[in-house]
Symmetry: C2
Subunit: 245 residues, 2 copies
């Protein structure tokens, strides 16, 4: 990886959350790094080449407004907020979006995290790209519309899958088991997708159109008093069946 | 692992599918193994200590009826079929259920696969338990009701998650991306669950009650002409929100 910054850039990461912490861990050795408090702006250097706002979506605007204007480039790390929110606060602005789920104390392989980069100019875009390349092997340009699409897709794939594993957990607790027994199966479910697409990888009663099992499952859910789970079961089963048509 | 069989047991695996193939791979070196055709019964030995029927749920009964009665124990490998289906066909019968998703040519770590064992007598149960122990470090007893519950849970956790990843894939294809970009995030989503429960691990707009993002996502889905995806989005989002109450 060629570093095309002349000197290690001065980077200020603004935020107290998990994303800010992980970005600091990932960048710490490779740039001159300042961690900045998003309320008091304690820690802000006299000058930063790049300021990264790693704060909740709904306060990006406010933090960008109040931050001392001592930077060349300002960027946010949100999947769902447009680049345009920063246009009032700098000449050079962009997005530095790591596609990951960040949890405190859960280690991450930073080199595998896809980074989605956007800049208001080619120069800004390239500078943010080079910064992301210091962390990850998978850095891509994506405009705000593509990034929003990716965010929506990751809600389905990750947030919603996690919710379904939570339902599985609660189903199992009724029989003195829990979701841990499913982890090898879950790892394999994901691992298969390196070889085959989700539609090819689909298994289970729905794709077999095994209505004996499907109806028994729906009955079990209804009898457990969980009509909401029965509704989710039917809807996703119908989705899998319709994919086959 | 102590082997308490006096001699390597003679095991006949009946079936042509992926489960049968993987069981043969996993057991091949450790027992005297015969692979048996479920139609002609070609390959059936003169005597088998254990016959394992690894065939589709809806033909277990028929294959068990027609198989030469030259075995001590007969077992099936289904998650959703009761042990009782085999009661007509042998004195000693049981269930030998590997909790995994088997795909041809996709390698598996057999030692991590949970096996759920049931037998009509303690002796049968223990014999099947010892056989499973030759493959896996995680072997448990489970009655038919528990096994059915586990099967239902794995449909939610694995089959349905795969369907949601398929929806994500189709969303991304509209922007010249595909599900592969989500794989590091998906691996981390599962990996986190070794440390924290699904309810603690939940991230995304629903758990943040970020209705700005939620409503924008639903609008994107509706505008794409996929009311079915919008319906799934709303239902699972409501599930996540209600978990928090």
């Amino acid at each position: 990886m060629t570093d095309t910054f002349c000197n290690p850039p001065v980077v200020a990461i603004v935020g107290t959350g998990n994303v800010a912490t992980h970005l600091c861990n990932a960048l710490g050795d490779q740039v001159t790094l300042h961690r900045v408090d998003p309320h008091s702006f304690d820690g802000m250097p006299d000058h930063a080449d790049i300021v990264i706002l790693s704060v909740k979506d709904n306060v990006i605007d406010q933090v960008a407004e109040n931050i001392p204007k001592v930077f060349d480039i300002i960027a946010h790390t949100s999947g769902s907020v447009s680049i345009d929110i920063l246009s009032k606060y700098g000449t050079d602005y962009g997005v530095f979006y790591p596609l990951q789920t960040f949890t405190k104390d859960v280690p991450l392989i930073y080199a595998e995290i896809p980074f989605l980069i956007e800049g208001n100019s080619q120069k800004t875009q390239e500078t943010l790209f080079r910064l992301a390349k210091k962390i990850s092997g998978d850095v891509r340009f994506a405009d705000s519309a593509s990034r929003k699409t990716l965010h929506l897709a990751s809600v389905f794939a990750c947030n919603f899958s996690n919710c379904l594993i939570g339902i599985a957990d609660r189903i199992l607790r009724g029989k003195d088991m829990d979701y841990q027994i499913l982890l090898p199966l879950l790892r394999q479910t994901i691992s298969k997708l390196q070889h085959v697409s989700p539609i090819e990888a689909q298994t289970g009663p729905a794709v077999r159109k095994d209505f004996l099992v499907i109806n028994a499952h729906i009955k079990m859910l209804e009898q457990s008093g969980h009509d909401d789970w029965a509704e989710i079961y039917e809807l996703i089963t119908n989705q899998i069946i319709s994919n086959e048509l």
